[in-house]
């Protein structure tokens, strides 16, 4: 089958518009080099050697973080910008749902704008006449169609733009993250319209952050990262590869956050500031911010979070094992040591707190280096960012070394449930409840 869209070794280099763009018109004229001056001095490569083909009738998803070149790719396909090198070939009439209602004039009525916008997108007046009612109905603007567009809400504006663009009846539809334009009902309507397009064998190129949509909807997917095609093919595979990379970068973020917090707390502790802070906890523990205090008779020298395989990390999955490993060092042999742990949500809610004294484990003696590990069999927390308190202290609570909210970790989950704690659970149903067959739950 002939491809509907074909990009071959496409690179797009933008020039950066810095302070000195053109010195003046005069200098450009004097050097007689307007065209030469227009050549970029500082450049930014939005796409580097990207190739992909979309067969006719295929729904193709493009994913990637912000600034990865997704929209540039779409603009190249739409023909709005030209590639710096490489070739872009598109077969058939294109309609681009890029900036909805871009051509709308605020002063004139919705009706007139529909006509002008339709003509801009390549329809004839008669074709618009034929489709007019359908367009207005789709946009749900029957009452307001004769009001000037400037009186529309942004949702109405987008809906009208979407309705016109989708009724152009293109062979190739380019969609850039526009499904967020309306309320739930409108989004469903749009998706239905896309499905109809697919059934009729039209080609759709979809740029989106909604990975679920790509998995559900696309036949193929492309993952762009910093202008480079990292992977393409089966959407499920591409999405999971992308998610893994996102996780890795989040992991890095957690690591730096934690490292910075620990470093800051370390600096703050010496020299010990005025009496209460350095050695004693703040008045109200639940309002305390991050920090570190204690006399350091016993010092926590290292805190490591480990996943089920014993690998250190900062990203954990809900329901999977996790352990917190404390390495401590006693300056002098000590016979009164309690290890404590507290887990806090990002809002500062204490999810769980315990210590060895409460659980009636009292080490008789600690000398030199030691390790204590708090192992969680299943991390039954909902998705979110959590902070950790760790401490060694006396039985009466007087701290040796208290690390307050210094460690950050993230729990990920494919279920978007809410709250803090996820009880181990399952659902059962009476047999007369039917579920669609073939839906594999992952």
């Amino acid at each position: 089958m002939t491809p509907a869209i074909e990009l071959l070794n496409v690179s797009k280099i933008y020039r950066r518009y810095g302070g000195r763009q053109f010195a003046t018109l005069k200098s450009a004229l004097l050097q007689r080099s307007i065209l030469r001056t227009l050549r970029p001095s500082e450049t930014f490569s939005a796409l580097t050697d990207v190739s992909f083909t979309v067969p006719k009738g295929c729904t193709y998803g493009v994913i990637g973080p912000n600034g990865s070149g997704k929209s540039t790719a779409l603009k190249l396909v739409a023909g709005i910008t030209k590639p710096t090198t490489g070739t872009v070939r598109v077969e058939g009439r294109i309609s681009a749902l890029i900036e909805l209602g871009a051509g709308f004039h605020p002063e004139i009525s919705g009706r007139e704008n529909v006509f002008i916008n339709g003509i801009m997108l390549g329809l004839t007046k008669r074709q618009i006449h034929e489709r007019f009612d359908e367009i207005v109905e789709f946009a749900e603007l029957t009452e307001f169609i004769d009001a000037p567009v400037k009186t529309y809400s942004s949702g109405m504006y987008m809906r009208l733009g979407f309705a016109v663009a989708i009724h152009v009846d293109p062979d190739v539809l380019l969609v850039d993250e526009v499904l967020a334009v309306g309320d739930e009902a409108f989004t469903h309507k749009c998706l239905d319209k896309f499905s109809e397009f697919r059934r009729r064998g039209k080609t759709i190129l979809l740029v989106t952050h909604s990975l679920g949509l790509v998995e559900r909807f696309c036949d193929e997917a492309l993952w762009l990262d910093a202008g480079v095609a990292r992977s393409h093919g089966d959407p499920k595979r591409v999405v999971s590869e992308y998610l893994m990379s996102v996780e890795a970068s989040e992991e890095h973020l957690m690591e730096t956050t934690t490292a910075r917090a620990v470093a800051a707390a370390d600096e703050g502790v010496q020299p010990p500031p005025s009496e209460p802070d350095a050695t004693r906890p703040p008045e109200n523990m639940f309002h305390a911010t991050e920090g570190r205090w204690g006399a350091r008779e016993v010092e926590i020298v290292d805190v490591t979070l480990l996943d089920g395989d014993g690998k250190p990390g900062f990203i954990f999955h809900s329901g999977e094992p996790m352990s917190i490993q404390l390495k401590v060092r006693a300056a002098q042999p000590n016979d009164e040591v309690v290890f404590g742990i507290g887990i806090f949500s990002a809002e500062g809610v204490c999810c769980y707190g315990t210590n060895t004294f409460l659980e009636e484990m009292n080490p008789a003696r600690l000398a030199g280096d030691a390790e204590a590990t708090f192992a969680i069999e299943g991390l039954d927390l909902v998705e979110g960012t959590y902070k950790l308190d760790v401490a060694v202290h006396k039985r009466d609570g007087a701290p040796y070394d208290y690390h307050r909210l210094l460690y950050t970790f993230r729990v990920k989950s494919r279920t978007h449930d809410v709250g803090i704690y996820r009880p181990r659970h399952h659902w059962t149903f009476s047999p007369n409840l039917q579920f669609p067959a073939g839906r594999d739950d992952d």
């Binding site: 763009q21 018109l25 450009a28 023909g79 681009a96 900036e99 004139i108 007139e112 997108l121 007046k125």
Partner: protein, 255 residues
């Protein structure tokens, strides 16, 4: 032309949108030139009557030049900005950019025709307008001006994307240009004839004279100049289009 429908509806939109929300609406197209006329004829017939001796009625004479001039300047200043104000279209929609300056010129041409609706009754009243073949020069003059304005509009709009200073520069140049053109004074005055060669270099001189001859003075003696200007305008238009086309790809990024 492929985009005729688009240009048509954009011109209509431009005109509609221009006066939407104002009380007088479309009448501003008449009121504006009338007010301008009032100011100039007060200055030149009452304050400084000596400069315009022998041109009667002066207001009518001046109107013949001022109407096309208004078309010219309004077109150029709007066309110059057109790519920047229409940036949304160029950046987000696959849109033939040259349409924007063209629409600016055409919308102002419609305004020019509306202005004629005031001029013509005046001409008839003062028996200046005679039905003769002479009048056939009028559409020719309009056509030459159209081509010239389009040529300049295309060039200026394309260059302004990269050199925003053109907008301010243009404003000053147009003011100067206005006084360098025999519109509020006649080219038949002696002290104008002295500098005939300089005036001949000004393309709008020939347009203004042609308008004044067709509508006010009678027989057209200036047609050689007019036709040469027409030929030059076509060349300029091609050059303007070439320049526009060369810079086209940079618009979406630079706007």
């Amino acid at each position: 032309m492929r985009y005729r429908g688009l240009i048509q509806s954009l011109v209509a939109r431009d005109l509609k949108a221009r006066y939407r929300g104002s009380v007088l609406g479309f009448f501003w197209s008449f009121v504006n030139p009338l007010l301008l006329l009032l100011v100039y004829s007060f200055v030149f017939s009452t304050v400084m009557p000596n400069t315009t001796v022998g041109i009667q009625p002066y207001a009518l004479f001046m109107f013949c030049g001022i109407l096309p001039w208004t078309w010219f300047t309004a077109s150029l200043s709007e066309a110059t900005n057109s790519l920047i104000t229409g940036g949304n279209l160029i950046k987000k929609v696959l849109f033939p950019a040259e349409i924007l300056p063209i629409v600016s010129v055409l919308a102002n041409m419609v305004n020019f025709f509306l202005g004629l609706l005031i001029l013509v009754p005046g001409l008839i009243y003062f028996h200046k307008l005679h039905l003769s073949f002479n009048l056939l020069w009028f559409p020719v003059t309009v056509l030459v001006q159209l081509v010239l304005t389009l040529a300049l509009g295309l060039m200026l709009s394309a260059l302004t994307v990269h050199f925003r200073d053109i907008r301010d520069l243009l404003f000053n140049i147009l003011t100067l240009w206005f006084f360098a053109t025999p519109i509020i004074y006649s080219w038949q005055q002696d002290n104008v004839r002295k500098y005939k060669h300089l005036f001949d270099l000004n393309p709008f001189t020939h347009l203004a004279i042609s308008y004044q001859e067709t509508l006010f003075y009678g027989p057209v003696g200036h047609w050689k100049w007019l036709l040469s200007l027409g030929a030059a305008s076509v060349v300029l238009f091609l050059a303007g289009y070439w320049l526009f086309d060369r810079l086209r790809d940079s618009f979406a990024e630079a706007v």
